[in-house]
Homo-oligomer: 301 residues x 2
Amino acid sequence: MNDRKQHVIRMAHQLFIERGFQATSIQDILEYSGISKGTFYNYFSSKNELLIALFKALYGSMETSRDELLIGQDRADLTIFIKQIELQMNTNKKNKLITLFEEVFVSNDEDLKQFLKEGQKRMIQWVFNRFLELFGEDKRPYLLDGAIMFLGILHHNVKYYSIANGSSVDISPVVHYSVHRIVTLLNDAANAGEQLNKPEQMSTWLPDASKPNEVFKEKLYHIIATLKNSLDENQMKSIELLDFIQDEFLHSKKSREFLIESVLCSLRNDQTLDQKTVAKLDQLVKDYFVRVAEACEQSNK
Amino acid sequence: MNDRKQHVIRMAHQLFIERGFQATSIQDILEYSGISKGTFYNYFSSKNELLIALFKALYGSMETSRDELLIGQDRADLTIFIKQIELQMNTNKKNKLITLFEEVFVSNDEDLKQFLKEGQKRMIQWVFNRFLELFGEDKRPYLLDGAIMFLGILHHNVKYYSIANGSSVDISPVVHYSVHRIVTLLNDAANAGEQLNKPEQMSTWLPDASKPNEVFKEKLYHIIATLKNSLDENQMKSIELLDFIQDEFLHSKKSREFLIESVLCSLRNDQTLDQKTVAKLDQLVKDYFVRVAEACEQSNK
DNA sequence: ATCTGTTTTATACCGACAGTACAATTTGCG
DNA sequence: CGCAAATTGTACTGTCGGTATAAAACAGAT
């Protein structure tokens, strides 16, 4: 991504933190980041698009550093989970993510709304999957309820603890407290055999969650994250290649098959990567283009 | 309150439910309720003021009917509490209160924000007080945390249960489920002796909660609500008198002492009212005016 | 250094919006 | 009826998000 464009995002973020999203006018952003209106609308098609770009950047880095905490660790270790939650809560606080979130959650822009919902859903799914690893398969029926309630407890506790103790207070005790509570809560629900939401229904929650394209994107995201997690900062080329693939699929209307093919070719020759995972990626992409081609034929009939 | 004014509030509410607050322009409200712009700004000083008036009306009626459920009942009966919560959740849903709430919670209008925060705080305090009655004094240290977590669990469960099962689904099982969970949660926290927020600090939470004026307003509200609860619809005069006092104190910069005095005089002669409570009200008002007079002298020095 | 295509800038503009100002009209009430 | 208050209609201000476009700055290839 353009250097200048990222600069604008950073400057806007600063203004959003200081005054909020609604209260920051485009004019403010232009003056603060020293660009003209024309350039702004060359980068972003609207103010909301800028916000989405900002969220993507923040969430992306948050999710990777959160996932990095798991590398080489026992996935069933509760203390690691606590560290992951603390990390996310602190990033939220630092970037005033929650405030921004709330401010625009109910908005007239359907795209923005959908994007934010998707983010919430991803968070619930992540907690659910971690709970599976932490509490085991036999608790599965109760873990979706658990994930939902955990986030409810956590957010409320953080919110009012911050009000009572000042927003600069250490959030760690709140996270510990909330995790302790959810452990008991899960046992309680399992003992009582009470269930509100069935985990199997999770995929049908959000309207387009069951669309093949969304499933593809999620798989793609997961595989690429796995590959990236196995790399360190010295292997910039490989990381860039993976990022390129992800970007090409997520942000272009029409992904350029020949480009992606050649990138995959490079990856297959990269000895530092786990070739089993690369093969998975290869297959996934192949299936995708087959499906696109079929859909294309179908519509030409 | 003016008939016409209430009509405007009702029409606006309808539009807010259909399209949301931000998406409803003042022009829309004017056309829909058939008044002119001049009249609108004669009634409300701004669009936000209208929203506050709407919230006040909705909250007011919700709180009274919620409190009515307790009359002549065992205050320690959990099933009554469940009924009260169900009532509030259903009112929320019917009036799209939560959506409206979220939409304007982070707003530029400091007054509106303060008003909404006050409402949330009142809700937490109400749950805390009910928990005291339900679970007893010995659990007190854990009941503020409990109230906060209960609302977090409840709102999250309702939200995602509605997403999964359609917004017209019966909310009752969610309330039962959430109440069951919080009971265990409270026992768990008490057993572990873990505490996040001290109930004594509750009054200092919101900036002006400790201001004498706010304490006064709360006491006033409570006494008047008690008196009103003992009346039925046939005693309109008494209700109007009580409403007048409340309105005079809450909405006027300078309450007219002579008017309030004469209203109190009428109330003292009203045999249908509990004269012990009326005496309390009398004393409260007397203290208030003494304090105002003192403050006035102080500033004239 | 010159040509060429792209990016950036400056500026004027549009429509929608919240809120103001005010003179003209209607309404309600003694 | 007469008068004061409420109501109306309309025109206005300033701000906002977003569009349009011509001129200027820039960058890479020859």
